[in-house]
């Protein structure tokens, strides 16, 4: 029996749903109540992300905050 593909929106994207949203963020195990909260938070988090000023010079790399070291 073939599976019916999910409906698509006018833009051609699949509509969001709890499971795909969780899978996208690697958190499929979360309870629905927390997935719902994540969806609520996704709007402000995306907004906050866009509020970080972008540097115009592409050679301005990120701060070298992680140092690759071996454990001794």
């Amino acid at each position: 029996m073939s599976k019916k593909p999910p409906a698509k929106t006018a833009s051609g994207e699949q509509p969001n749903n709890g499971h795909s949203f969780a899978a996208l963020h690697g958190l499929s195990e979360l309870k629905p109540v927390y997935l719902k909260r994540m969806e609520e938070l996704s709007v402000p988090v995306a907004t906050f992300g866009q509020q970080v000023r972008r540097l115009s010079n592409k050679e301005d790399g990120p701060a070298p905050v992680f140092v690759v070291m071996t454990r001794t």
């Binding site: 938070l41 995306a46 992300g49 509020q51 540097l55 990120p62 905050v65 992680f66």
Partner: protein, 469 residues
Amino acid sequence: MKKKISPPSKELWKITLAEASARLQAASLSPVELLEAYLERIAEVDSKIHSYIYVAAEPARKAAKRAESELRSGIWKGPLHGIPFAVKDNYDVAGMPATAGSRLRLAHTPEVDAPLVADLKAAGAVLIGKLSTWEFGTGNGGEYFDLPFPPARNPWDVERFTGGSSTGAGAAVAAGTTLFALGSDTTGSVRLPAAACGAVGMITTPGRLSTQGILPNCWSLDTPGPFAWTVQDCAMILDTLLGPPAANALPQRSFSRSVGLPISGLRIAVVADPGPGFPQADRPLQNGLDQALEVLEKLGARLTHVKLPIPAAECFAASRMIGPAESAAIHEDELKHHADQMGFALRDKLLAGSLVRAVDYLAAQRLRRAIATSLDTLLRGYDALVTFGTLHLPPRLGVEPEMTAFTVETMLTPFNLSGHPALVQCNGFAKGLPLNWQIIGNRGDEATILQIAGAYEAATPWRNRRPTL
């Protein structure tokens, strides 16, 4: 020079570390007597402020007796020998619970001391116990009364917030339930409680103090830091933790000897405006800064008003990506499998952190590099920079939007991002609550910060006032 009067024995909790150390060395005070005064103080007031999660009275008594025996035998391990202290409950201490304020870690008992704890024990200091913290040493700015331990309360007004995330450390030092404390700071978690509780709180140049054995919150920003009642006390703790100058890779003066040096001629940059996107400081804090600057001028410092090269609001925007994303990475397993057991603040932060796009995280780290470079360039033209710590007075515990505004709208975060050492100290009182300001130094130059803070402290009366509980 003000004459220092030692408190009567029933008020030993008011003694400074420097006085206690001198009296222990002179044998006019014993480590056991000093510890018992603190245990008594805890029994008397801690049910009102909840500064402790765990009091290890018997192990502390054993350590105090050992210190007493050593001092009687002429063995002196240094200025902290016999001095009681406590650590935030995200520090590992062998054989003691390390809950980090969480249901998820109620059964967690480390077998090894965090290096900073081990260093203090080796110096003869006496560990009293573990101090309250927001869950996992982090949060979202609010208080939801949903953790396994009651929230710490501000000893100046128990209806008010202590500042977080080292919620117990500032309260304990101000209330005299410990002589000094260690906390941890990602975007203000040492300096915010110090500000709210009227204590001295300091972060050093990243890398100076080991983060090993402290539950990580944000790998790229976490810094441990001491709390004390006076600047001299803070300097003595750092002298012990950082060892002799020759043993350290960064240039270092004796911190204790820096306190008391004149500040005449020092060039100090002043940031009195948080910049666009942030509120101005509340009037009492503005007045506190203005009056403190007058003190510095009278002491001969040369002040120059400057602007932050990248405004505090932009710094906050960067930290709002970095902190939650790294926390979510650190605690991914706990979020996946034990979200129910978390308090709302931690869970919400981890859920939000899981949503941060890599592109935005990297944009924040790119901006961080610009923040670090521009602040470093600014600071190199001066001996230090002074500005606000918080922009608001300590809020009512659990009351929004006061809580979040107090936690978020600060001048603390820029210096975590830039990697500069910084100290918060009390610079007055308003409405019975402590005011505060912040002194920032060049990288590796904690000594000048302590020199300025020490000169200010000696010229002002604020250390004579303690909370009434």
